[in-house]
Symmetry: C2
Subunit: 342 residues, 2 copies
Amino acid sequence: MTDALTIALDAMGGDLGPEAVLGAAVATLERDPHARLLLVGREEVLSGARERHAGRFGDRLGFVAASEVVAMDESPREALRRKKDSSLRVAVDLVKRGEAAACVSAGNTGALMATAKFVLKTLPGVDRPAILAPVPTVTGFTWMLDLGANVTCDAENLLQFAAMGSVVAADLGGIEAPRVGLLNVGEEDIKGNDTVREAARLIGASGLNYIGFVEGNDIFGGEVDVVVTDGFTGNIALKTMEGLARMIAGQLREEFSCTGLRRLQALAALPALRALRQRLDPRRYNGASLVGLNGIVVKSHGSADATAFANAIRVALEEARKGVPVHISRMLENQKTSCTHV
Amino acid sequence: MTDALTIALDAMGGDLGPEAVLGAAVATLERDPHARLLLVGREEVLSGARERHAGRFGDRLGFVAASEVVAMDESPREALRRKKDSSLRVAVDLVKRGEAAACVSAGNTGALMATAKFVLKTLPGVDRPAILAPVPTVTGFTWMLDLGANVTCDAENLLQFAAMGSVVAADLGGIEAPRVGLLNVGEEDIKGNDTVREAARLIGASGLNYIGFVEGNDIFGGEVDVVVTDGFTGNIALKTMEGLARMIAGQLREEFSCTGLRRLQALAALPALRALRQRLDPRRYNGASLVGLNGIVVKSHGSADATAFANAIRVALEEARKGVPVHISRMLENQKTSCTHV
């Protein structure tokens, strides 16, 4: 157990509740002998889980009581101010005290970010943490940020996002010199607003592998590894993808079930449709990273089931093993040294 | 022929060139006995078309020579300044002189907007024209603007977009009191930046059927008829949709052709797949409106084929028949009267 990594799990967050988190925890412990998990939640939830699973995993499955729960629609400020014994807060506190290497929550995104910023603080050289997630492309994934933490960003923020995204693409994606693109309304230098043009200048001079402006359709083309944008545009682009993918999946289902004959045809097409569903399954890449913090915090989608939540735990384990925050610090430190006079 | 409507077509714009425009023109004239079309382009292009089709349609197909062509990547400012005899410019001039009720071009979007603004001017009460297009939803369409004309917008611009979008949704979509949503990163009043919050206040007090903030995924849900956003976010959202839809279509094709057996299964699934393709076919809703101008200008997608371009012509005819610019003027005039003290 010397190389075991402990991850704290907010058992109360998300739309599906503790059962999804517990299912994900069991799957993770079965798969990964070096993982140790701490379930954080209300005593009555924990006692049930303890009875059913504790014997089986020994001290690889721990329990930490937290008496409160942050609601999905609660104001982040209120949650931070009033709910000091919420499962979300206690999970982040465990990271702060070094009792967990990372934490995962499917709860209220704003409250998680506000709590993480307050408790863990940002890394030196980071003005604003960001939300980063992988997006599927024709060849694999691209890492996109910010997905909603910062509705307005200046050029310096975008430069820091580019650096943090490059670290995650390298650490989690195994990409040597990640290609960084800045999301814009055209590829020519003159396109966009003052902020993106200034950010282009800064990123271009930073030593990162900057490939220039990219457009919305380029996200999926496999020719960019890190897509940098402000949290307003990034959040809207991400949710637009979610909505469109859901609509297409629904229409595919409808077309294959509108008549008895179509249902028979669907049976024949099942292998291909299953393969497609697996390729596009958002559970396979669930787990957004809150980057720029002095600690590792992973946000699972609110609607995550056990499979999806298990993937978010995998992301947290991977970031902890690779030491993403240390790498981000080092990257920003290097940039500061090399770009003082930009 | 008293009620014939004349539409000027830029025959030189777009990636597929004059053949797509000519094919669309022929299809339109065959289908719509009240349409009259003017093909605008280089003499050598027109003479070929004249030989093949003029006899058949009589004076319903006219030809106007223009010696220059605006390149797809040409700077709008340069195109406007130097190419006064381009097909794009001459098509817009025909609208200005009242010789055409509308014009359609698949050419350079920036040049088309710059030329249209310069030649036609904006309507009284409109600070900035916008690009508007229908986006498919689970129940039909939603009209979204701005899709890229204005990379920065203030709250007053967004209010005007809401009014113009409502007119188009009513005139082209037949919707009585179009539900207007403002694109944001969350639905709560406190979400977003100062501009969208101020715009929410203005639109809420305008008398339009304002339903509040909507998120990226809500675009497709069928519960909003007009989605208002700035041109930076709107362009990125639109191109993100295009890119994702293309990726999913490609993956569907791949899954159904990766083995001989899968190809057989695809044959069985063909009716459903065809129906899906038809539902999602972007050619069915090709044709973005440049709204807020003192004249009707429709932008066809650069990659439009004859079917897609014909749809853009249909949009232009429909806007001309309904009198969209007059309705926009009247709507903004009413708003001004009723909202002076907002």
